[in-house]
Amino acid sequence: MARRLHVVSGKGGTGKTTVAAALALALAEQGRRTLLIEVEGRQGIAQLFETEALPYEERRIAIGPGGGEVFALAIDAERALLDYLQMFYRLGSAGRALRRLGAVDFATTIAPGLRDVLLTGKACEAVRRRGADGRFVYDAVVMDAPPTGRVTRFLGVNSEVAGLARVGPIHHQAQAVMRVLRSPETAVHLVTLLEEMPVQETADGIAELRAAELPVGATVVNMVRPPVLAAVPDAYGDDPARLHALAATLADAGLPDAARTAAPLLAQGRAYAHRLVLEAERRAELARHGIPLHELPLLADGIDIAGLYRLARLLRDQEW
């Protein structure tokens, strides 16, 4: 079965919002429709797509590189709560009274966890929603989720709630959400860099997700720099003749002052080569988790719309 809910997490600073947006674009193949959901109230999606702040409504923000449509939604916990109550009870004045009383504030900011229930619930509702023709409204839903350290708890909140509210509609709703999240329709992807902390957090995140019986999808290694220098042989360090030859080569290539700059350039190159070795080790570590590993290049000019589409095309060639 094709996966329909893609939850994208990652350590802060790894670019998970960018990857989520690129994935939503990538999955918007010819005639398909994807929904990109933001849950952390940062308006990161609007900034990426260079559009005004997203309202709490599903709105088309882009055409996928394959000709499909990408919709986006910034979930507002307060509005989601009122939706949720409406869904069960058709609250009119009572909903407004709840808001006046501060009950909505309570539910969305004070009562911890309820906020996460609402956010995951809204995402699962979009996954399950069918149109008048009986077909799914969205072929895929991509969620820009909280960071790796919190994502298991975020997704698992409904099982906790189902335990707290042992009867009633919240109990049933929480169980229904968990069924979607734990189904093979869902995949949690973790974005990482080839740096020590993000790689460690990815390992921890995968272990936590597995322990919570949540389906792990792929690891996305972001901002990979294609190597421009394989290695600097040790021989160049301690042999003045070689350093001299190097300086002569640099001077031949038109470099001014090569006699002075050869040594610092060599040291810089050695540090670079050392980093490549570390990166290779981290890549091997990531590969050991037994889940697909996708790589995205660092875009030299930063992420703009053009860069986003470039990443989307690269992701399109992968198995999701």
Partner: protein, 408 residues
């Protein structure tokens, strides 16, 4: 950009008037490392320091002697005490902090009832939000003990870096709210809840409690009500402490350091933070910019380096026919030293070094653009730059190196 003032880290750390340093910023910018490095430096310069970390990397925690989450500041082994200072460190244990508040503010029977309540248990175990309250609560406790000259705080990796600032006030407005009284009403007044609620004069309240019961499920509503009623007596204390902590953050002895990396998102978050601190009249000391890259030969531009690399590549392309000879078994460069296959000729190496340099210069330019955007809007904010390190920091030696870089 030259006009940007430098952040004088050592005078800030040495000033006996500096009592609290709060490190804030978005996730993944090195807040925890910055907080630990500042604390170590202050201690080794003679102050009695405690650092409150939220979620340190395992190896860094171990090197600071933080092997268990016990919510008690422990001396950090290996700190140089020649200058008369000391360093303590602790990791925040949310649940235990919450439990301690309950135990401190409620009588024994009531405390037990709260601690056993299922709603309390899941709330205190750390849903989103609790960490922020508890970090501020712990800061208040450490400050109240008055056992240290300086408290350095790392802030939680929240969905927004601003969350911990809002936590005390959010708690305050909730405690003032009618909703709390509404929730407590049934537990306090028993069957008269409906009437009591109606007397508040808000239409539809009976429907609200009924709805809550239906939505939450009767069991959960009862748990919440019992919890809220049991917490009632200690809410006054909570409220007062939350307010006190907020005022502590505004006090002249507090210095906020906004931590960022020279990346778009991190600096955008830093700018928000700077503006928010000003709006809340919180004292900002400056911006710590981590992971700033340098270049070995800054006067050699990326373009020039790439042009030279291409010149070298062009030379490598042998005239037609030459390659055929080279594939023969015999060494074509007869009589010369046979090239070591493991050592690339200077041409290939030189071209590679030039490309590494060009990449570095481009990164430098990118970082400077990001930084210029920030300083254009906030030219008054002093900045301390910390050069990118080859690997992560796992020990006191590494923290000292970061401290040296911070102090410039």
């Amino acid at each position: 950009m030259d006009a940007v003032p430098a952040l004088a880290v050592d005078p800030l750390l040495d000033d006996p008037g500096t009592r609290i340093i709060v490190c804030c910023g978005s996730g993944g910018v090195g807040k925890t490392t910055t907080a630990a490095a500042l604390a170590l430096r202050a201690a080794e310069r003679g102050r009695r320091v405690v650092v409150l970390t939220i979620d340190p990397a395992r190896r860094l925690a171990q090197s600071m002697g933080l092997t268990e989450l016990d919510n008690v500041p422990r001396p950090v082994p290996g700190t140089a005490t020649a200058a008369g200072g000391e360093l303590f460190a602790m990791m925040l244990d949310m649940k235990r902090t919450f439990d301690e508040i309950v135990e401190a503010h409620a009588d024994r029977a009531r405390a037990e009832a709260i601690l056993a309540n299922p709603f309390y248990q899941s709330l205190s175990a750390g849903f989103a939000g609790t960490q922020e309250y508890m970090a501020m609560e712990k800061l208040g406790q450490l400050a109240a003990r008055d056992a240290w000259d300086l408290i350095v705080v790392d802030t939680p990796p929240s969905r927004s870096a601003l969350d911990f600032l809002d936590a005390p006030q959010r708690m305050g407005s909730f405690l003032d709210g009618r909703f709390l009284r509404l929730l407590m009403a049934p537990a306090k007044a028993g069957g008269r809840a409906g009437r009591k609620v109606m007397s508040l004069g808000v239409a539809g309240l009976g429907m609200v409690t009924g709805t809550l019961g239906k939505v939450l499920g009767a069991g959960l509503l009862r748990d919440v009500q019992t919890f809220v009623a049991a917490m009632d007596t200690m809410f006054g204390g909570f409220r007062a402490r939350a307010d006190a902590t907020y005022r502590l953050l505004q006090a002249p002895g507090t210095a906020f350091l906004v931590v960022a990396a020279p990346e778009r998102d991190a600096l955008r978050e830093a700018a928000y933070f700077v503006e928010r601190l000003a709006a809340d009249r919180m004292p900002l000391a400056g911006l710590v910019l981590n992971r700033v890259h340098g270049a070995a030969v800054p006067e050699l531009s990326a373009e020039r380096a790439l042009a030279a690399a291409e010149t070298l590549d062009a030379k490598k392309v042998a005239p037609p026919g030459m390659d055929d000879h080279r594939t023969g078994d015999a060494d074509p460069e007869d009589g010369r030293r046979t090239p070591d296959p493991d050592i690339p000729p200077p041409d290939a190496l030189a071209a590679g070094l030039l490309r590494v340099h060009a990449e570095g210069m481009r990164q430098l330019a990118r970082e400077q653009r990001m930084r210029a955007r920030f300083t254009a809007v906030h030219p008054e904010v002093p900045v301390a730059e910390v050069a990118a390190l080859p690997g992560d920091v796992h020990d006191l030696t590494g923290l000292r190196a970061v401290g040296d870089l911070l102090a410039g």
